[in-house]
Structures are given as structure tokens and as C-alpha cells.
């Protein structure tokens, strides 16, 4: 029974989404404020968080960053009333794994939740290969789903880990944003490059890549990204 923590300040939306998700078989805890949501994190121990971006007091961005600091692997779906590109990008860069733009139908939200949960369960396509890849300072444990850089573990969010696993499975191969979107986010809707770009940016930051000349994850202009082990 997946446990969903919903943080939403509007009562009607909170009740509506709670009702819809409960009927889909989720166990739902609803929090009215960001502070409340942070408190419920320990007691409720959710599998996934659905987070409203515009909250009074502690904003959705603050909550997102705070949760990432506590738990790197908790999937967070950002629900935003503002579909402006800028808001979405800011939310994604704060560490959200996915986003939905309100108003969202219960079926769509449900599909997104299931997708992030599948990813969080960590069953990447090549999970059967029990080995640890080392690329210079970077070590990727495919079986244990852990990443270390210079011997120290690097905490990665589910989408970041899955992106790194997907790219590093075939070093040198160029993946288009669309391919990555489908492999990592399981999005059937095509063309949302913002998810990919924001995630690559976060991943580079965590791997300590120099922004000008990234060593591992390289941009191939006009096509997408590729992983190089050199």
C-alpha cells in the first residue's frame, strides 16, 4: 500500500486529491503547511511526497530542499499551479523528481506516482549485471544502487540515480532527451526536455563536475547527452 504525503494549502484541493488517491488504493496523509509536512515526514514515513509549490510560510521550494537534505532517495512530485517554464525549472532544480501542472486529473497524478515509485524501487533495465563500475574517481554499484566519488558515497535522488545508471550503462553512446525521458521518467508525453536538463544539472553538481567542461556527463548539442568514462 503506497503511502503518499500530500502537502497542499487549499482545503478543497487537499480533500479532492486525498479522496481520489485513497480510492486508488493509496494511504494518504495530508498536510496543510510546509512545516506540518516536514513534521509528518518522520511519523508517517511516506513512499512519495506530492508537494504544492505555492505554500504560505515555508514555500514548496524550501520544503523540497529541506526534504532532500533529510532523505536523498525520497521521491518528490511537485504540483504547481503555475505552469510557467521558470517555476517548473526552479522546482526541478530544487530537487523534485517530477512535476504536474494543476489542475491535474486524479488518473494522471496516480500514473505519475506509480512511475516515480517504480523508479524508486530501483529496478533499472540492466539490474541483472552484478558489478561495480569504476570511472576514475567515480564508482557506480549497479547491484547495490550506490554511487561513490573518491570513495565517499554520493546521495542521489531516484531520478538522478536512474539517469546516471541509464547513461553509464553504455558509455560513449549519445542519448536524446526523448530517450532519457522515456527511460528515466517513463513519460509518454514527448518533448519535455526541462526534466532531463534540470536533472542533468543536479547530477553534475553532485558529482562535482566543473560546469564548463563536465567530465562524465557531456552535452552533445542538438542530440542530447552521453557518458564518458575517460
Amino acid at each position: 500500500m503506497p503511502r503518499v504525503l500530500l502537502i497542499e494549502d487549499d482545503r478543497a484541493v487537499r480533500d479532492g486529491v486525498t479522496l481520489a488517491l485513497r480510492r486508488q488504493g493509496h494511504e494518504v496523509a495530508a498536510a496543510e503547511t510546509g512545516e506540518d509536512g516536514m513534521n509528518r515526514l518522520r511519523s508517517f514515513r511516506p513512499d512519495v511526497v506530492v508537494l504544492d509549490l505555492m505554500l504560505p510560510g515555508m514555500t514548496g521550494l524550501d520544503v523540497c530542499r529541506g526534504m532532500r537534505a533529510l532523505d536523498q532517495t525520497l521521491p518528490i512530485i511537485m504540483a504547481t499551479a503555475r505552469g510557467d517554464d521558470e517555476d517548473i525549472v526552479v522546482g526541478l532544480e530544487a530537487g523534485a523528481d517530477d512535476y504536474v501542472v494543476k489542475p491535474v486529473r486524479a488518473r494522471v497524478l496516480e500514473a505519475r506516482i506509480r512511475a516515480v515509485l517504480r523508479r524508486a524501487a530501483g529496478v533499472p533495465a540492466d539490474a541483472g549485471i552484478p558489478k561495480i563500475d569504476t570511472h576514475g574517481d567515480l564508482a557506480i554499484d549497479r547491484a547495490g544502487l550506490a554511487v561513490a566519488w573518491q570513495g565517499a558515497p554520493v546521495p542521489l535522488a531516484p531520478s538522478e540515480l536512474r539517469l546516471l545508471l541509464t547513461l553509464s550503462a553504455s558509455p560513449g553512446q549519445v542519448f536524446s532527451r526523448q530517450q532519457l525521458l522515456e527511460a528515466v521518467w517513463e513519460h509518454s508525453f514527448h518533448g519535455d526536455a526541462r526534466l532531463v536538463d534540470a536533472c542533468v544539472k543536479r547530477l553534475r553538481g553532485k558529482l562535482g563536475e566543473p560546469p564548463r567542461e563536465p567530465r562524465y556527463i557531456q552535452t552533445v548539442r542538438g542530440f542530447g547527452y552521453r557518458f564518458t568514462s575517460r
Binding site: 481520489a20 510557467d84 491535474v104
Partner: protein, 482 residues
């Protein structure tokens, strides 16, 4: 420039003409005066001395007469020749008297009047005067002309020097005057041209949208008045433009605020529509109908609000392109597939990777989906989507996407308005499945790519929407596909 040249030319012409005319008058005056003085003195001398001349005179008498006449001029520059019939004598012995031309000699012989001629030889100019001596003695009353002729040569060195001095004086006066005149002309031209130039650049500024442009008003001439009028016009223009912009901004903000405020209640409603749909099956028919109606309308309302938000983003200039080089045929195929149109819409697309372009994939998807959706709703099947590359003359490489349907076509009166927001072809304003914003959003999405979209009717029936996208490519790849 033309004005400057004209001013300078007028000034130069005035100065030179004045100089030249002054010189001519002065020269004529000088020569005339000296000539008159010489002739008058000669005549006086001749009249005074003629009575003492014996008749008919011998050579010695002629010589003495000539010498006497020559003495009449105190400075002694006169050279005189006296002649009677074949006899002639000069005031200075053995003077060849070269200056005397046969024409002058002839002229004096046949007329009692005084004749003169200016003769220039080698390096000096002389005035040669000739006159006949007229007898006034009663005894010879029948023959007034005595036959004695007197010729006088006076060098005109002084006069010429004087004229030369005059030329130099005129020259010296004219050059500074000319320079001064040209200078003043340039200043005057600049005085006129500067405000004209300022006016020109100010007009250009206004045309480029810098409505706060104003001119400095100096003095109270016609130019100042023109500048003043210009400033007033610019101020009025700026004011009304600011007013219009303010109204436009308020209207846009209102649309955005409305969409935004609609979003929250809609989010709650949209979340439970699926619950309502599921429940409807178990309810009594009337309640089920009511519930399904609410559910359907909520979905439509949600789509309308989405479209309104999208339009207000375009209006606010907040729509950004996220360009990516993609395979256009693949993009179109996905657009059809993701909306389950693959079976209802025929696609004639180029080979994979044959036509790549730099576009925002999401916006292209929205535009194509709206055009195809429109064709499916308002036209009739079969609907055909075509994609090909077109290299128009001068327009560069373009990708052309055509959406054709087999419906009745678009009425001629509606055709110019199809891309307008909420445009309804019939006055009854029947509600269709769409939001009424689909084509407007499609057009905005194409426009932001620098492309165009137009609607037309096919001669064989049905409507055709044609999208033309400029094909921008990335710079040559440094890293290829590996």
C-alpha cells in the same frame, strides 16, 4: 549638404562679382581721366602755339613747334611729332616714333577731330593722340584745316602701375571678403541645418519607438515653432501610447489573474472527476447523468483554463523557446501516436532523419496537435498530414507541414478570422469540443519559431492549414554521434 554648397556658392559669387565690377569701373575711370587730361593739355598747347607757326612751315619750324608742344608737359615724358604734307619733325631729334600706326595717321588726315589710340608694344603701353591744327586766322577762313598734324605719345607706365596696384588692392580685399563670406555662409547654413538635422533624427527616434524624444527650442523663428509643434505632438503621442499600453497590461494581467484564480477550484474538481465517473455507473440514471455532466464540463473547463494560461503567457511575452534539434517526422509521428490518432490520420512523412530542424519539441507538438484536432472536429475524415522540405527563393530552407481535411471547407467570410481567439463562425455561438483557443495557440507557437501558418480551401474540397517553419540548424558538430 546641398544647402551648404548653395550658401557657399552664393557667397563666393557675390564677393568675386563685387570685386570684378569695382575693378573694371576703377580701371576705366583711371585710364579715362589720364587720357582726358592729356588730350586737354595737348589741345591747349597746340592752340596756344599754332598762331606762332609760320605757314607753310619748314622742317625747322615743325621741329621747334613739336619741341614747344612737348615742353607743355613739365615732366618731359611727351614725345611730339609735327607733320605737314611730306615733312615731319619730332620733338626729340631722330625719334623713329614707332608707336604711330598708319591707321591713326590716316584717321587724323581725313578728320578734324582728335583721335587717340592705346598702343602696346613689347613691354610698355603708350597713349598716342593725333590732331590737326586748325587755322583760325581770317585770311585763311576758307580752309579751316591747316594741314599741319600733331601726334603725341605719352607712356602710360604710371597709369598701368596704378591699375596694377588697383588689381592687387581688389585682390587683397576680395580674398578675405570671399573667405569671410564663405565662412558666414557655412555658419548660416549650419544654423539652419542643425535644427533640421535634429528634427530628422528626432523623427527617426519617434519612429523607432523612443517616444520620449524632445527637441531643444531656441529662439522664436519658424524652425523653433516647428520644434515646438514637434515636441507637443511627441508628448501627445507618448501619452496616448502609455495609456494604451497601460490598458493592455491591465487587460493581460486580468486574463492571467482570472485563469490563475480559476485554477485552484478546478484543481479540486479535476481531482475528483474520475471518482465521479466511476460512481456514475452505480447511481440512478438521473443522478448519473448529472454526475457525468459535471465531470465532462470540468474536463472542458480545465482545458479552457489551460489554454487561457497559455495565451496569456504569449501575451505577456513569457513564452520561451527551448530549442532542440530533432527529427521533425519523428516528432509528428509521436504527436499523432500520443493522441491515438494514428489510425484516423494519414501521415506522409519523409524518411527518418531526412528532415531535422531546431525547434521547441513541446510547442511544435502543441501546434500540430491543435491543427489536427481542429481538422478532425470541424473537417471530415480522411485527414492527411504532410511534411516536406521546401527551399523557396530567398526565404532559405523551410519545413512545410500541411494538415488537410475532407470536410466542406471554410466559408470565405470565416477564412480571415480562423486564427482569432474564440472566433465562432455562426452567430449562434454553438459550443464545440475545443476551447476556441486551439488555432490561436497553434499560430502563436509557430510564430514564436519565426514561422507562419495560414488557412485555405483546397480546390478539390476541404480545408488545408499550411505551416512554414524556417529550418535552423546547429553549427557543424564538433562531436558527432558515436
Amino acid at each position: 549638404m546641398r544647402l551648404v554648397v548653395a550658401f557657399a556658392l552664393v557667397a563666393a559669387l557675390t564677393a568675386t562679382t563685387t570685386g570684378a565690377l569695382t575693378f573694371r569701373e576703377a580701371r576705366t575711370g583711371v585710364l579715362q581721366q589720364s587720357q582726358d587730361a592729356v588730350i586737354k593739355l595737348l589741345r591747349t598747347q597746340v592752340s596756344r602755339l599754332a598762331s606762332g607757326l609760320a605757314f607753310p612751315p619748314g622742317r625747322a619750324e615743325l621741329r621747334r613747334f613739336a619741341a614747344d608742344v612737348a615742353k607743355g608737359e613739365p615732366s618731359g615724358t611727351w614725345r611730339v611729332l609735327a607733320a605737314y604734307r611730306e615733312l615731319s619733325a619730332t620733338s626729340v631729334p631722330d625719334d623713329p616714333f614707332e608707336e604711330l600706326t598708319p591707321a591713326l595717321r590716316e584717321a587724323v588726315g581725313s578728320s578734324p577731330a582728335t583721335v587717340f589710340q592705346r598702343v602696346t608694344s613689347a613691354d610698355h603701353t603708350s597713349l598716342v593722340v593725333g590732331m590737326s591744327v586748325i587755322y583760325i586766322a581770317p585770311a585763311e577762313a576758307g580752309r579751316p584745316v591747316s594741314g599741319v598734324r600733331v601726334f603725341l605719345t605719352v607712356p602710360q607706365t604710371t597709369e598701368l602701375a596704378y591699375v596694377d596696384a588697383l588689381v592687387e588692392a581688389v585682390w587683397r580685399a576680395a580674398v578675405p571678403a570671399l573667405l569671410l563670406a564663405v565662412l558666414l555662409a557655412l555658419l548660416a547654413a549650419r544654423g539652419v541645418l542643425r535644427p533640421v538635422r535634429a528634427l530628422r533624427s528626432a523623427t527617426r527616434n519617434i519612429a523607432e519607438g523612443r517616444l520620449d524624444t524632445r527637441l531643444a527650442v531656441n529662439g522664436s523663428d519658424e524652425l523653433a515653432e516647428l520644434s515646438h509643434t514637434f515636441n507637443e505632438t511627441a508628448a501627445a503621442l507618448e501619452e496616448s501610447v502609455a495609456e494604451l499600453r497601460g490598458m493592455e497590461v491591465r487587460a493581460r494581467r486580468f486574463a492571467a489573474d482570472v485563469s490563475h484564480e480559476l485554477r485552484t477550484p478546478l484543481a479540486a474538481m479535476a481531482a475528483v472527476t474520475d471518482v465521479l465517473d466511476e460512481e456514475a455507473a452505480r447511481l440512478d440514471p438521473d443522478t448519473a447523468t448529472a454526475v457525468r455532466l459535471i465531470s465532462e464540463e470540468t474536463v472542458k473547463l480545465a482545458r479552457l483554463v489551460d489554454d487561457l494560461m497559455e495565451i496569456s503567457r504569449f501575451d505577456a511575452g513569457a513564452a520561451v523557446l527551448h530549442l532542440d534539434e530533432i527529427d521533425l517526422a519523428e516528432s509528428l509521428r509521436r504527436t499523432l501516436a500520443s493522441r491515438a490518432w494514428t489510425d484516423t490520420v494519414e501521415a506522409r512523412l519523409p524518411e527518418p532523419d531526412a528532415l531535422r530542424g531546431r525547434v521547441d519539441p513541446r510547442r511544435l507538438d502543441v501546434a500540430v496537435a491543435n491543427l489536427v484536432g481542429n481538422a478532425l472536429r470541424h473537417g471530415a475524415q480522411p485527414v492527411l498530414v504532410r511534411l516536406y522540405e521546401d527551399e523557396g527563393p530567398g526565404a532559405g530552407r523551410r519545413a512545410v507541414i500541411e494538415v488537410l481535411d475532407s470536410g466542406p471547407g471554410i466559408p470565405a467570410g470565416v477564412l480571415p478570422h480562423v486564427f482569432e481567439r474564440f472566433y465562432k463562425s455562426d452567430t449562434a455561438r454553438t459550443r464545440t469540443e475545443g476551447s476556441g483557443l486551439g488555432l490561436a495557440i497553434a499560430e502563436e507557437n509557430i510564430r514564436i519559431h519565426g514561422g507562419t501558418v495560414r488557412a485555405a480551401n483546397r480546390p478539390e474540397g476541404g480545408a488545408v492549414f499550411t505551416v512554414e517553419l524556417p529550418l535552423r540548424r546547429d553549427e557543424p558538430q564538433r562531436e558527432g554521434r558515436s
